[in-house]
C-alpha cells in the first residue's frame, strides 16, 4: 500500500490545487441546478423590462457579455437568422432577450448597440450583479469572473445555452451552443 500511496496522493493534491485555482471567493459561481425559470425584471436602454410584459410571446433568453468576440455572436447570429425565417405573424410573437453576465462593464446602452446588430428587436438587459446572478441561477445559466493577463481585463466564463420560454412564461426548452437554425425554429414553434 505504501508503495502506491504517492500515486494516490499526487492526483488528490493536483485536484485540490485545481479546485483552489478555480475558486474565487465572492464571485457568482453557480453550477447549473434544476432550472425553474420564472418572471424577472431587468434594465434595458428603454427602461425596465419584465418577462411578464411579454406574455403571449415566446421568449428566447441568452446570457452572455459584449466583450465576447465569438461565442455570443455565434449564438445571437443563429437566433437572428432563425427569426428571419419566421412568418411576419410568427415573428411578432417572439422576443429575444440578451442578459449580460458582465453587469459591471455592460451598460444598457452598450447592450442596445450590441443586440441591434443581430436583430433590431433583440433586447439587451442588465441589472445589479446580484439581480443578474439571481435570474441566471433560476434559469440554470452559470458564469464566473476570471482574473486574467489578457488586455481585456477579467474574462467571463459562461454557459452558452438559449432558454426558450413559452407564452405563459414557463421555461419550455433549452437550446445548446450554436444550435442550428432548424433546431431554433423547431423550439420556437413547439413552445408557442
Amino acid at each position: 500500500m505504501k508503495k502506491y500511496l504517492p500515486y494516490l496522493l499526487i492526483p488528490a493534491l493536483a485536484g485540490l490545487v485545481a479546485v483552489l485555482w478555480q475558486w474565487h471567493p465572492g464571485d457568482p459561481l453557480r453550477l447549473a441546478g434544476k432550472p425553474r425559470g420564472g418572471d424577472f425584471t431587468l434594465q434595458s436602454a428603454r427602461g425596465p423590462v419584465s418577462l411578464h410584459d411579454l406574455r403571449g410571446r415566446v421568449a428566447l433568453i441568452y446570457f452572455g457579455y459584449t466583450s465576447c468576440p465569438d461565442i455570443c455572436p455565434t449564438n445571437l447570429a443563429q437566433i437572428g437568422a432563425a427569426l428571419k425565417r419566421l412568418t411576419p405573424q410568427e415573428r411578432r410573437n417572439v422576443a429575444v432577450l440578451f442578459v449580460s453576465v458582465d453587469p459591471e462593464r455592460d451598460t444598457p446602452q452598450k447592450l442596445a448597440r450590441y443586440t441591434a446588430f443581430f436583430d433590431p428587436a433583440m433586447i439587451g438587459l442588465t441589472g445589479t450583479p446580484a439581480q443578474v446572478a439571481e435570474v441566471a441561477h433560476r434559469y440554470g445559466a452559470s458564469y464566473r469572473k476570471v482574473k486574467s493577463d489578457s488586455a481585456l481585463g477579467y474574462l467571463v466564463d459562461h454557459s452558452a445555452f438559449t432558454y426558450v420560454v413559452d407564452g405563459r412564461g414557463r421555461l419550455c426548452e433549452t437550446l445548446p451552443h450554436a444550435a442550428p437554425i432548424d433546431q431554433i425554429l423547431g423550439a420556437i414553434r413547439r413552445c408557442h
Binding site: T66, I71, D182
Partner: protein, 153 residues
Amino acid sequence: MFPTRSLILTLAATLTCTQALADAAGDVQVTTPYARQVPPGAVASAAFMELNNRGHEDHALVAAASPAAEVVELHEHVMKDGMMQMRPVPRIGIPAGATTRLQPGGYHVMLIHLRQDLASGQTVPLTLTFEDGSKKAVEAPVRRIGAMTKKMH
C-alpha cells in the same frame, strides 16, 4: 576510409541543416483567413484561419499583431464545467505535415480594443510571428458570420 566516412557524415549533416533552414514562415501556408464582423462599438473581435505546415519540422504560432487593434493576443476556447472558457495561450502548435485550425469556438487571434469598427468589405492586416522568429503577413477580410443551418463542430 575514415576521412571519407567523416566527409559523408558532414555532408549528411549539412543536408539536414539545409532542410532545417526552412523557416516557419516558409513552411506554414495560411488559408481562408477572416476577421469576424462584430457589432459597432464592440471592444473585441477575433480572426480565424487555417495553418497548414507543409514542412518537416513542427512549428508554432506565438504572437500576432495588427494595426486594427491596440492589443492582439492568441486565445482558445475550452468547454469546461458546462461553461465556455476563453483563455490567452502562449503558443498554438502547428505539427509538421498537419493543419491547425483557428475557428469559432476554438483557437483564435483575439483583436482587443479595436481602433475602428470592422465593416464588411474591409481587410484586417495581420502579422503572424512563429516560434522560430520568422514572420508572415496575412490579410484577413472582415466577414459577417451567421446562418449555419448545420452543426459546425
